[in-house]
């Protein structure tokens, strides 16, 4: 072994690159990455199935019916008029003949509505000249007009035919429509951003805990600054997530386009689609780096999956609150709440993405991104400091003693 060193000093960034390269290739060529890529399929399939089944069940079992109980002649006249009306008002419920009454025969409409064997929402009784609609308040208020029209038709007091209305579809949407659609785009963007950041920050946390399990962390900590270790891990997972997003994006877009959709059918975000997508990637990256650095700080204090779950639960809940905060703020553009949501580091990426959908000014994004970079740097530094402060405080357990990582437990610990 020669005594002449053959290596040179690494800068923090170069050291981070060594870690990132190792982690990136290790994750990319692992089996778990394949399942990671398939990950979004599962909620889509489950959601699709659940939605389809739910809609079908709702369609078949929950569709309310309107009953009619009149004399035979009145039932015939009312049914004919109602069918004609139903051609114009498609939302009307089906008309079901409950009873054809003999002259002078009494009928309890309330009992018919309450009868569990039938699916009646309301019942028409009386005569076309004096119809009585029995049912819950909201339904009878909604249906009194159509019932009145049908009765008038049955009496011959209404037009026998309806002129065909020619439909003229407006290509450009109204301002109100556009604003509503942009809010939908913003909401969708925020939700996707939130789900992705939570998923990936959780993965980087597992990665660190696994590393501690492999006892490699001490070798890393001795060779390079912990800031570099943290940065490397964050960058690696970010690169992995970009690969994942690219695969999901390309596949999803292909399926979406194949289904006959086009971006032109949707209102463009205020900054335009290309800029919106660009900003979405940037805000995703910043959101992930912020949350990931926080999770790494937690991971530095935990040594088992159980400890990780215990420690990360409050952070996950807080992040959920941040997401709700940003969502709430989105509906109040320009308000103090919205500005606060763009300033609070952990809600800032969500709030700013919503702003990109609603507000065309670009300089605000430059400012927000700069602020988020500063916050990431602070989080990474704080995480590395915590790691150095709380971890590595003792050697391995011997004689059945269990290694502990939590600072407060270390009182019972002896250094080795």
């Amino acid at each position: 072994m020669s005594a002449a060193p053959v290596s040179g000093r690494l800068s923090t960034l170069a050291a981070a690159l060594v870690i990132a390269r190792r982690d990136f290739t290790a994750i990319l060529f692992s089996r778990s990455f394949f399942f990671f890529l398939l990950g979004p399929l599962f909620p889509l399939i489950v959601g699709g199935l659940a939605g389809g089944i739910g809609a079908s069940v709702k369609e078949t079992t929950a569709r309310p019916e309107l009953g009619i109980a009149m004399s035979k002649a009145d039932v015939a006249a009312m049914s004919a008029a109602y069918r004609q009306l139903q051609g114009q008002l498609a939302y009307l419920p089906d008309l079901v003949v409950v009873a054809e009454l003999e002259p002078g025969q009494a009928f309890d409409a309330g009992a018919a509505v309450r009868d569990r064997k039938q699916n009646l929402a309301a019942v028409i009784t009386g005569t076309p000249a004096q119809p009585v609609l029995t049912g819950t308040r909201d339904l009878i208020e909604r249906w009194q007009g159509p019932v009145s029209l049908a009765a008038a038709q049955a009496l011959g007091n209404a037009p026998a035919s309806y002129p065909k209305v020619e439909l003229s579809n407006l290509v450009t949407k109204t301002t109100a429509d556009e604003n509503r659609s942009r809010v939908t785009t913003a909401q969708l963007g925020q939700t996707v951003l939130f789900l992705l950041t939570m998923l990936l920050a959780g993965m980087v946390l597992s990665n660190l805990v696994e590393e501690k399990g492999n006892k490699i962390i001490e070798i890393l900590a001795a060779a390079i600054p912990m800031d570099a270790v943290f940065l490397g891990k964050l960058f690696a997972m970010l690169a992995v997530s970009w690969v994942g997003i690219t695969v999901w994006g390309v596949t999803g877009t292909a399926v979406w386009l194949a289904a006959g959709n086009s971006l032109a059918d949707y209102p463009a975000p205020a900054v335009g689609w290309p800029m919106f997508f660009g900003l979405a990637v940037l805000y995703f990256s910043m959101g992930y780096l912020l949350l990931g650095s926080l999770f790494l700080a937690i991971g530095s204090m935990a040594s088992t999956v159980r400890e990780v779950q215990t420690l990360s639960m409050p952070v996950t809940m807080l992040q959920l609150l941040n997401f709700f905060f940003a969502s709430y703020a989105m509906a109040r553009p320009g308000s103090a709440i919205e500005i606060a949501a763009t300033v609070v580091p952990f809600s800032s990426p969500f709030a700013m993405l919503a702003r990109a959908a609603q507000d065309p000014r670009l300089w605000t994004h430059g400012l927000a991104l700069a602020w988020q970079v500063v916050c990431v740097a602070i989080c990474v530094k704080a995480g590395a400091t915590l790691f150095r402060k709380w971890v590595m405080k003792s050697g391995p357990a011997r004689g059945g003693r269990r290694r502990r990582w939590f600072g407060r437990r270390a009182k019972a610990e002896t250094a080795v």
Partner: protein, 327 residues
Amino acid sequence: MKLGEAPVVSNAGAGANRPLAIEARGIVKRFDGFTAVDGVDLTVPEGAIYGILGPNGAGKTTTLRMLLGIIDPDEGVRRILGHDRPHEVAHTIGYLPEERGLYPSMKAYEAIAFMGALRGLPLAEGRRRGRELLEQHGLGYAADRQIRQLSKGMAQQVQLLGTLVHNPRLVVFDEPFSGLDALNQGKLERMMRGLAESGVTVIFSTHVIAHAERLCDEVAIIAGGKVPFAGPVDVARDRIRPQVRLETRASDGPWRAALPADARHEGAYWMFSLPETGVEPLLRALIEGEAGILSLSIERAGLHDAFVAIAGEAAARALEESPEEVR
């Protein structure tokens, strides 16, 4: 406290005139009020084999971690290869922690290359040297095997080679003999001597006195977070007087008055510390007292006796109770 002041403990041994690879003054580390390391002073000359000897829980690992910059001392100063910040010279240091760790999915040569890359060795060069080192140490056949496919002993060797792949000037081993069989302990000892001969400073912690005694030019004896002695092994041994082993024909007589107060009878022998007046007055008194000397030998104290004398009985007992080692 500043570095460069007169050292608390003299290094008046083999490395007296050599520049220092490690210099630490008054380093302290507390964890939640518990003082793990309490004002440790160390001076390790370049090219020396230096042992940190103490029982489990004495503060060895914490001291090494502070020297390497893994954690910072709460008080005191340290200088590694002339730098206050150990990470600035990380590319010239090799470190083998007590708890061995490698990525299970990495191939053996890649693991070595990765450890080199952490120390600034270009990855391609690390891969080349990794294969070369594995060949040199009889593990060439395992170069392309994943770490998880290697035996524990082989994985330990891979990690050891990874510690040395970048040709460090200073190598720090934390309990390096832990978990190794006697054969591999011997190989590691030879490797450590070889490193020192090529000018590399070797510092290691151990709770096995035999290793320290065989290998070290200098030792630091650590117990309860304090270092009551740091210096050449010979100086430590000279801390206690040589032991006299005496066998006499007469079981009693006037010669008994010549024995010092600490003399104890063990089997056929009397054991006691050599009086400060030396051996000649003792011999004269024994002869004049008609002891009938059958044998008399003077044995220099071993490092174990020195450890007991310096660190105390309790620390020595803790040292002996430390598990899993072949002593």
